[in-house]
């Protein structure tokens, strides 16, 4: 048996894995359906998103040029790598340059599938550096010495007991299955890493050509940490990962989180345009087979925005999980691009599909994955175009013979008769045949006998009965009159913020309300964004105010540039007094927002972020679902978000 089939059997017989995967499929699919319920025009958005991505891939060279030009003008250093080896060399050079002796550096890394493509961690470690994955799921698989098994939920294959045992073995804590305790343990360990790391490594969800900015979407806060705290930030980006404009980005952001995790917006949507004070930012743009893929009939697969919803919808992924694919990218999209990016040894993955089309239905940019799978099967990932790639030899021979018969009606009819006689000999008494498992079909089902008299011999030409055609009038689908109820933005903002676990307080005087809050919490020191509260009143009330990050401070207070009604989000932008850190490092984030600054949605606000060095859209407290998809609040970012809404 070939290794792929062996891995398939192993995955299927692993009961724990099956349980984890069933849970993932059910919950993710439900969450996705619910999330799209709040976006009635999503089919139309999906087609627009498809068109945007098609345009980007069609005109990739000019969009890349525009993106690079703008990013460089913003003070970001751009590096281009044609393959994995080149990218690794660039990153090693960046990491190794400057900094403190000895040469070993601490690298805090947030999720990046590109880094998996590069096999980056072993390369960095071989050079003497220490790399720590900081996404909870990635951290868990790193401790286990594994690869992520899902592009969004890396530890989807594990149960809480596995994580409990792992943390007991590797981190020396008492064994526990309590997810908040496990999460908190990782938070403590990783907090040290964030604060001392020399380099932050991240991926990129989207690059925006017109601004040269990059967008990162995360939930836990680790992505914000690694892009904000270390002196050097290196972002790894696939060359196809662009959108032309901020409007296009806003469109994508309505689809990506809903598809990936069933959220209207992820907790943190960052827009990064420039380096922060004293910081170096680099973007490494990777080709690694993408140009070849773009020139092939698999081009449409480059439209992918890596949401993972095709994995969640796929019945094959539901049986296998990610590891059995034996490739960096798994699921339907992985079965298409692996052969295209990494070579035809991955072509057999595409045979492992019933072409049921659930992936296409789930895709937020409407990639025709079943069609692409058949193209891989037809050898189109390869220049050589070897048809039937990955197909077992006897099957290929059988289908070749079938093709000869099916183009000749007389041969076809004769074969039918012969088959009927044959199957009748094999199984004279029953309408069924019990085939051996080795035939494939016989593994789990019986096969029907051929009819002795096929339809073609039974059909008799005759006129139809001239009965009156009973036509019942077509039920016209009742028009849904959703008279656009213009809901009050403040009301909607409040509901959405509560739904994501945030709190809201209406106040005439933000300083007084926050003083009350701090008294109740027994807090006397805060990290405050300047010009947010009345600092003399705070001083008079006995509070110490810091305008710089300090990991021992428990409460951070910032302004919000805007609020977003449809997601309950607040926009925090970089400025004096380190508001990005104030909204990230402390356990509690207090936000001062003016009622009149609440806008309907991100699409109305995204242009305001154009001029910022770096900005983040915060949607509730930091969270993770990386352990058995159990929602845990407060990973790396604040566990509480309180909005003080003023006139």
């Amino acid at each position: 048996m070939d290794p792929f089939h062996q891995r398939i059997r192993r995955a299927i017989s692993d009961e724990h894995l099956q349980e984890a995967l069933d849970g993932n499929a059910r919950r993710r699919v439900e969450a996705r359906v619910t999330a799209f319920g709040s976006l009635p025009d999503w089919p139309e958005r999906r087609q627009r998103a498809h068109a945007v991505r098609a345009d980007v891939i069609e005109n990739l060279d000019s969009y890349l040029e525009q993106f690079i030009h703008n990013a460089q003008n913003n003070g970001i250093t751009i590096h281009r790598a044609k393959d994995a080896a080149e990218a690794v060399k660039i990153i090693l050079d960046l990491v190794g340059a400057g900094g403190r002796p000895p040469l070993q550096k601490l690298i805090a890394k947030s999720k990046s599938m590109i880094s998996e493509e590069l096999d980056l961690n072993p390369a960095l470690e071989a050079a003497g550096h220490r790399v720590v994955e900081t996404d909870l799921g990635e951290y868990i698989v790193q401790l286990r010495g594994e690869r992520p098994s899902h592009i969004i939920t890396p530890a989807v294959h594990l149960r809480r007991s596995d994580v409990g045992q792992l943390f007991h073995d590797k981190l020396g804590i008492p064994y526990t299955e309590d997810v908040p305790t496990l999460t908190n343990t990782a938070r403590k360990v990783l907090r040290e890493v964030f604060l001392t790391a020399d380099v932050g490594l991240s991926g990129v969800n989207f690059g925006v050509a017109e601004t040269g900015g990059i967008c990162l979407v995360t939930n836990e806060g680790n992505g914000r940490m690694v892009t904000t705290l270390p002196r050097t930030h290196i972002a790894l980006m696939g060359m196809e990962r662009l959108v032309p404009t901020l409007d296009d980005l806003a469109l994508m952001l309505t689809l990506l989180p809903r598809s990936a995790t069933g959220q209207k917006l992820s907790v943190y949507t960052q827009l990064i345009h420039k380096p922060l004070d004293g910081q170096q930012r680099h973007i490494v743009i990777l080709d690694n087979g993408r140009s070849r893929l773009r020139a092939s009939p698999l081009r449409e697969s480059l439209y992918c925005i890596r949401c993972g919803s095709c994995l969640n919808a796929c019945p094959v992924f539901r049986e296998l999980g990610g590891h059995a694919y034996g490739a960096v990218y798994s699921g339907p999209i992985g079965s298409v691009i692996s052969a295209g990016l990494f070579g035809s040894e991955f072509a057999p993955l595409a045979q492992a599909s019933s072409l049921c089309g659930a992936c296409k239905d789930a895709c937020p940019v409407d990639i025709d994955l079943p069609k692409l799978l058949t193209r891989v099967r037809a050898g189109q990932a390869d220049v050589e175009r070897k048809e039937g790639q990955g197909l077992a030899t006897p099957l290929k021979a059988g289908l070749q013979a079938f093709s000869l018969a099916a183009r000749d009606p007389r041969l076809f009819a004769a074969s039918q008769k012969l088959a009927a006689l044959g199957t009748n000999l094999v199984s004279p008494a029953s309408p069924w045949m019990h085939l051996p498992a080795a035939t494939g079909w016989g593994y789990s089902k019986d096969f029907p006998k051929f009819a002795i008299k096929p339809f073609r011999e039974r059909f008799i030409r005759q006129a139809a009965e001239r009965a009156e055609l009973k036509t019942t009038p077509q039920e016209s689908p009742s028009k849904v009159h959703t008279s656009a109820v213009q809901r009050d933005c403040v009301q909607q903002f409040t509901e959405e913020l509560n739904a994501v676990g945030g709190h809201i307080l209406l106040t005439q005087d933000a300083t007084a309300s926050i003083i009350d809050f701090l008294h109740a919490r027994n807090v006397d020191r805060i990290h405050l964004e300047p010009n947010t509260l009345d600092e003399s009143a705070l001083a008079a009330a006995g509070f110490t105010v810091a305008h710089a990050p300090d990991p021992s401070i428990r409460v951070g207070v910032t302004k919000a540039l805007r609020g977003l009604a449809d997601t309950g989000s607040v926009l925090v932008v970089d400025g004096d007094g380190h508001p990005l850190e104030a909204s990230l490092l402390p356990e509690v984030h207090l936000v001062v927002l003016r009622k009149s600054d609440i806008l309907p949605s991100l699409e109305d606000a995204i242009h305001l972020l154009r001029e910022s060095r770096s900005a983040v859209v915060i949607t509730g407290p930091s969270r993770t679902g990386d352990i058995e998809m159990t929602l845990t609040i407060g990973v790396h970012g604040p566990g509480e978000v309180h909005v003080f809404l003023t006139k």
Binding site: H5, S353, Y443, F455, A464, A467
Partner: protein, 241 residues
Amino acid sequence: MPTVQLFVTCLIDSFYPHVGEAVVDVLRRLGVDVDFPRDQTCCGQPNFNAGLREEAKPIAQHTIRTFEAVDGDVVIPSGSCAHMLRHNYAELFADDPHWLPRAKALASRTYEFTEYLVDKLGVTDVGARWDGPLTYHATCHLHRGVGVDRQPRTLLAHVRGAEVRPLPEEYDCCGFGGIFSVEHPELSAEFLKRKIRNLESTQSPTLVVADTGCLMHIAGGLHRQQKTQRVIHIAELLNNI
């Protein structure tokens, strides 16, 4: 009265001729003249799906020629084969200026059976009856491939006496997938197990499908597991008067 050309599909022709007869009976009862071009064989989907496109092409060309020779709409009692003609022929001949327009012309006059009844004839009640519970499995290429889902459900809803019970996870693949069921027996078996479990949970003795590939697959699994449920094609149900 319209004349339609029946493309009966190789599975019905070879294994389930009575389903073909049910299709003919239902259509004739509704006043439609049914003809059966005798040169027809298979649509070529097994080879196409396996990636053997060069071998799928002559089969597709044979099918196009066979139906070009006759007039009227082409009716196919299979979502999967209808999907092949309607979408995959265009993919197969995408770079072939001679065959592409001919493939598209055939696609434009091709209907899946329930789609033809409901959308083309405007019939929702064919006068069928059925005693007792049944459940319906939406086959993948029917509802996702050709986008036909409302039509079979409308027809089912009008069958007198039938109690249509919802099938849990009704849109999940049964694991047939043509060559997939042979090439990946382990995966196929898992899909099938789940489908049969869901069927059992409805306590319905009858499962209705509109695709004989899926019918053959699910029925074969039920027989192997010595279950008593029956799988029937929707034409058999609609022909039960």
